[in-house]
Symmetry: C2
Subunit: 336 residues, 2 copies
């Protein structure tokens, strides 16, 4: 696709002619293959330089049967979470000489299946981030688009590489922290009902309740954005809880903003925690207590697992990444 001065792309044939050798030799030089007479190799290199020859990746792909490209499909490119995962995959894949083709399904589960199959036609592998599609479609995609790695959607299938954040554990850390501060009545400001990661958080709450029967945890459905958090204040305060577990940091920060408007002192009257540890969490007022989630690592590990499968080194088991508690100023002792 890169053209010379004439406008017509310069091909391997042009170089061969210029250097007075065969295409095969040019190819060998370009790929550093086999042993080529140094003098001839030099002649070829000069011709390459002279003509500004760049091999066609498309032709190479066709001949080699691989594109050295991996597709990453996310539900929403605007979500900081998926941006981080995308960055992780991009950087990790680059280390192995792979490029990334990005697809954004814009939160329309119906489009995911086709988008996945479609993306896969041009790439050697696929990373599926938090797919929203149904179980049946997902299985079909996993079969049709293999090799595929799945991020943040716990699935049963054994042979497919997958890496997920252990939100159940994350919630456990937060509940323990709050309990340690004396809180006994909590409220969970939940995320999208269809989200697999929201389900995991719910399991974390269940586990916490099982451990501490004296605990009360109300659950309200809020959403996943700053706006959702902002709008949830009344609902959250209505429960009378002394601490709120937000679905994520965005919700927590949105809520914090509204609480300040309402003159609800945090953490004196209400403790607030989030999940993710996005960069802003440290800079809010008050700074947000949260669980640090290695988002970019999710992408990195997804690629590593995928690459392992592509090399034929067998399928690794599901990988669960754990978070760590970041105690900041938004949590404090339960009000007397």
């Amino acid at each position: 696709m890169v053209s010379g001065d004439a406008g017509r792309p310069v091909t391997i044939d042009d170089v061969a002619t210029q250097a007075q050798v065969s295409r095969a030799t040019v190819s060998r030089v370009m790929n550093g293959l086999a042993t080529v007479d140094p003098a001839i190799a030099e002649r070829v290199r000069r011709a390459v330089e002279l003509l500004q020859y760049r091999p066609s990746e498309t032709a190479r792909s066709l001949s080699l049967g691989r594109t050295n490209t991996v597709a990453v499909l996310v539900p929403d490119l605007a979500n900081p979470m998926f941006q981080s995962i995308l960055r992780g995959v991009t950087r990790a894949a680059a280390e192995d000489g792979f490029r990334v083709l990005v697809g954004d399904t814009q939160e329309t589960p119906d489009a995911e299946r086709d988008a996945a199959i479609q993306a896969r036609r041009r790439c050697d592998a696929l990373v599926l981030c938090a797919p929203r599609m149904g179980e049946t479609d997902l299985e079909a995609v996993l079969a049709a688009a293999s090799p595929v790695a799945v991020v943040n959607r716990g699935i049963e299938a054994g042979a497919v590489p997958q890496v997920s954040m252990d939100y159940e554990q994350a919630i456990g850390l937060l509940v323990e922290h709050l309990v340690g501060l004396g809180h006994r009545h909590l409220v969970y400001a939940g995320g999208p009902p269809t989200s697999a990661s929201n389900r995991l958080r719910g399991l974390g709450l269940d586990a916490a309740l099982a451990r501490r029967p004296d605990l009360r945890i109300d659950r309200v459905s809020v959403g996943s954005t700053l706006e959702d958090g902002f709008a949830s204040a009344a609902q959250v305060l209505g429960t009378g809880a002394s601490a709120v577990l937000a679905f994520n940091d965005l919700v927590a920060l949105g809520l914090l903003s509204r609480l300040r408007e309402l003159d609800v002192a945090v953490p004196e009257r209400l403790s607030v925690v989030g999940v993710d540890d996005i960069p802003f969490a440290r800079f809010s007022t008050p700074a947000l207590t949260t669980v640090h989630v290695p988002q970019e690592a999710l992408g990195v590990q997804a690629w590593r697992q995928l690459h392992q499968v592509m090399r034929g080194d067998g399928a690794p088991g599901p990988l669960w990444l754990e978070g760590s508690l970041e105690v900041r100023a938004s949590t404090g002792p339960v009000p007397a």
Copy 2:
């Protein structure tokens, strides 16, 4: 790359055999080309369905001479600005049937040139976001990788599609706003010296000074991140200015966080403004006065211009997008 049950990818030949027709006919049916006998077309479609045939995009690309893919190169995938641009390009390009290959040069100007040429080999076009490379390299890339669109780097070259944010105008809006509140001594917390957009902001300051000779604007070099803003408090306060213009919202919010720790009342003692209107600007304490920048539109317009050139409809002139003032709570009258 999608394989049938046998493991071997199913090709157009397999379908032709199955449907008892020639490859050409299968191709025609797949592309809805020409007029094919309905009965035969149906036979082909059944064969396609039966064999789960998916044409090889690679082979199509080689034959057609285009990939229907555009590369987007950004200095840093972690920067919210570039994420928005990427999203804009991805969505706009998708409407025209194009996919996006993303590249992250990780803020290493030396890597940009090769990355650009490299990315372009697999794609039909290239979007260069705020390239950090030198003028010479840039011109070389523009020539070698055409068609290229450039975002947020004002360049002289006339024929290349480019769209940039008019930061000069943005700064003008902010200065006028502050002047209207009575401020006469401002400080600019500047961004990276090599950044073209930082230079534009400087021009905005110059223009404002030209309009209002009674104004004093100190300039300090701060950076572009939350951390940079946080760390700049002493430097900023040291100037004695009554209002600070931050390079962007990140810097402004980081500064806000630190000012709160220092018990410097905003806006009572110091007014603070940013640039970008990132989602958080609305939710900080106090909410940040800033200029709304249509970041995603930058990406959308870049694609539109690029696509126009690719269609041979001629090169559009440079496009400058303008921001709009968002007055919030972080600015107020100059202290008595």
